[in-house]
Amino acid sequence: MNKIISKVKLGRSSLEGQPEKSDLTVEVEPSESLIININSSVKTLYREHIKKLVSEILSEHQIQAVKITINDDGALDFTIKARLTAALFTAWGSSVQQNDFSHPPLDSISKNLVDLKSRLRRTRLYLPGNNPYLMQNAYLFGSDALIFDLEDSVSPHEKLPARYLISEALNFLPIQDQERMVRINPLNGEGIQDLRVVMKLKNFDTVLLPKCECREDILNADKIISYFEQKYNYGQKQLALIPLIETAKGVLNAPQIASASKRNVALTFGAEDFTADMGISRSPGGEELQGAKAMILLAAKSNGLQALDTVYSDISNPQGLEQDTITSKSLGFDGRGIIHPEQIDIVHRVYQPSPSEIEYAQKVVEALEKARAQGNGVASLGRKMIDAPVEARALKILKLARKLNLI
């Protein structure tokens, strides 16, 4: 590494400079020798552990002389690693690389992307990208997906530490069946730096791209992702893309956005920014959003993509969330964003096929099998004819029921 050029302090702390819960502050200063100071609320039990971790990271970067001051309040290893790495990179200064992204967009999709297309996405839990405390247990609450957010929940001066925190969290947390999403910043802003850092460790599935307004936005994202996939040797692994549509222009261009890239697995709607863009406010019933939602639903479904609804932001109103989700499901949305773990069960309950729905679907399939065995192309159930759409709906319900261990 080059010579240290600036003193840096990183990490979330209170006004008095105390670290936030499960977090730490790291101070990096020039020094003639190696000095490591550790203050920690768990120092009686973890001082040696933390010291060893810091030394390992320093030797990884071949740093022999530096003064490190750590002020810790029970941060886990991934947070310590992320904060220290971010501080070192900042202290040493890194020149922003200019890249040529004239990489072709994705033309053929691999198996992992095919699988991603059909993932269950009833709930996507948003996690503020610079808050380790909220990340640590988030995978335990059973949402279908986790969104590690670098955009709106992270203030501009926290973007850099947040990138390292998200990378290390994704590497550390034992996330098993949940889809790992990262919401990056727009690509005309911090988005490219976001991808440069978070794609390096190859440990997430899907990029959530905010403020998508036209086909070119998606094509551009696809190219940049392709570039980093090659740079970081992704091999057969391909990242999925979910465009977030949250402006009037984006809504009008939803069909072009949906068809712009083979990486697309879903379109999702962002109501907060959309209403701001329209100069209107959100009503409890959400009547003002109906046109935009219809457009996004049609654009998504006509391109074989899932449609995902916006968040329900009143966490103290479970009845409101349930009602809104029932409506959302009936319109055709496959799931919604959520902002608190307590919302998960409510949304999942709405999306859960009812016993009578499952029973009917089973009857439909049985009747068809029977008819086919007898050489008939069409079947009927009671006095109703079973046609292709009825069969498709029944199969979809059974697939979901199987996924949820209901049958």
Partner: protein, 522 residues
């Protein structure tokens, strides 16, 4: 110091404070026998002859009249919690009067009682028997009470010690939110209302002298009352026995922590599948975040399944009162309350009954309430792979908490569950061996954390649960597996530096010593 080893292989002193100690030999071994202690026959003071009144003009006069002497044991209850003014007022008066070497036997102490440290240093207080937490616990951890060794007891254990004669109280000071001049005292009315006076009921029977201190003196007779005048020697009326805002909270709120809510959901699912959830079942509630959430979720499940519980023991909060009012539970046994709604219910609802501690949890009684209870939800600072539970010390060795009713409930109920986050500030709760044993593993059936659930293979209920739940969606695993899983997240902590010197004893509910607490080297 000469030491011996108890049946949990814990090294304890042979004697302490001039008494030979009994080593712990299993949770259900020291059954009692012999005779109880007895309070003195009061020297009768018929008003017709002496014209004497019990009402004293101030605390000093009451102390004088009680005949307090150096070296005596005095007691207090903790129903006023962190809003209590009485302990500090009385102790400061005692110090001003020049008394020394007193033994303090409170049912519990709170951070508000931190000024007692100064009195310990001055030699006014030589020892505490009962409960210790926060600042005083830290002081004791650093050797502040030596050469005396304080003894910590559970609620039931304290009642037993008094009845068995292990703890003789010379003067009991009882803060009373309402009282008359004859000593009838009541907790649920008055500006400093705290609900029951259950912790001090046993003190009022067995202490040589009993002083009631109130800030709401009402005309005789004070009815209803918790403490009868027949137990009381002296009465003092003062301006303020406590700070009402800190005695109870206006409302008790359920935790918002998703991790704790998840643990509560797991607990309710275990209860649902345990076979215990049937009409007439019973459970314990408390004011801890997870416990409140369990009460709420369990209430919802009971309503949904149309199952009515026979009783709740607590630790009563609005959530338990709501269940009573909804007809989902037949009665509430109330040892302490945490919010104003519960105080009102205790005053008004006939099925909400103030429960003296000896009735609630005394092992040497002729059968106590916890033995009839189905389910208990408990906390811990640590548990170990033998299911031993620590509630007293932290992993760094500091003695920071009292026992409460913990080990009594664990021993009594059919299903005892420890509900805890798997780590706090990266410190894992599951250890190879707990720093201090408070409740023995043989009384613990389940450990429930957000990372996983372990059932105790050495208890019958643990084995039943394991059988019923091993194929469920719940993350059931062995305790060693759970320990490893948590350590993968937290890393393995280094051992704290502890001296061999013993600074406190943990007494089990039967009067035996289950563990000794070591001095911390800071």
């Amino acid at each position: 110091m000469e030491t011996i080893t108890n049946s949990l292989q814990r090294i304890i002193p042979r004697e302490a404070n001039g008494k030979i100690l009994k080593p712990y030999q299993g949770a259900f071994n020291n059954l009692g026998g012999g005779n109880r202690a007895a309070p003195p026959i009061p020297v009768s003071r018929p008003a017709r002859i002496s014209k004497q009144t019990k009402l004293c003009k101030d605390i000093r006069e009451a102390i004088e009249k009680s005949g307090l002497a150096n070296g005596d044991t005095i007691s207090f209850h903790h129903h006023l919690r962190n809003g209590d003014a009485v302990v500090n007022l009385v102790m400061n008066e005692i110090a001003a009067m020049g008394f020394k070497d007193l033994i303090l036997a409170p049912s519990a102490l709170f951070p508000v009682h931190q000024p007692l440290i100064e009195l310990i240093e001055q030699g006014v207080i030589r020892r505490i028997e009962g409960s210790m937490n926060g600042p005083i616990g830290k002081f004791v951890s650093l050797g502040g009470m030596l050469p005396d060794i304080p003894i910590l007891r559970s609620h039931g254990g304290r009642a037993r010690a008094i009845e068995d004669g292990d703890l003789h109280i010379d003067v009991a000071f009882i803060a009373a939110p309402t009282a008359d001049d004859y000593g009838n005292a009541y907790g649920s009315l008055g500006k400093s209302a705290c609900g029951p006076l259950a912790y001090s009921h046993i003190d009022s029977i067995y202490a040589d002298q009993v002083v009631v201190i109130t800030d709401n003196l009402v005309a005789y007779p004070c009815i209803p009352h918790s403490i009868p005048a027949t137990h009381v020697d002296w009465v003092v009326n003062i301006d303020q026995i406590g700070d009402a805002d800190k005695i109870v909270s206006g409302t008790t709120r359920i935790t918002k922590s998703p991790t704790r809510l998840l643990i509560a959901k797991y607990a309710v699912e275990i209860i649902e599948k345990s076979g215990l959830l049937k009409p007439g079942f019973s459970f314990q509630t408390g004011a801890g975040g997870i416990s409140l959430a369990v009460t709420k979720y369990l209430g919802e499940l009971m309503a949904e399944k149309n199952i009515t519980a026979s009783f709740i023991t607590g630790g009563i909060t609005k959530y338990a009162v709501d269940l009573l009012h909804q007809g989902l539970v037949g009665s509430l046994f109330d040892v302490q309350v945490f919010d104003t709604a519960s105080i009102q219910s205790l005053h008004e609802d006939p099925a909400h009954w103030e429960t003296p501690v000896t009735y609630y949890a005394n092992y040497h009684s002729k059968g106590c309430l916890v033995d009839r209870q189905d389910i208990g939800f408990l906390g811990a600072t640590e548990v170990d792979i033998d299911f031993n539970v620590n509630v007293n010390t932290h992993s760094d060795g500091y003695l920071l908490h009292g026992i409460g009713g913990h080990l009594d409930v664990a021993a009594g109920v059919n299903l005892s569950m420890i509900l805890i986050p798997s780590y706090r500030k990266r410190i894992p709760v599951i250890r190879d061996s707990v720093t201090t044993v408070t409740a023995p593993g043989e009384t613990i059936d389940a450990i429930v954390t957000e990372q996983g659930i372990s059932f105790n293979p050495s208890t019958e209920m643990g084995r039943i649960l394991n059988e019923n739940l091993k194929n469920s969606n719940l993350p059931v695993m062995s305790i060693s597996e759970l320990k490893r899983k948590v350590e993968n997240i937290t890393g393995i902590p280094q051992a704290p530096q502890l001296s061999d010197e013993i600074i406190a004893l943990i007494e089990y509910r039967d009067g035996t010593i289950i563990d000794a607490v070591r001095k911390v080297i800071p």
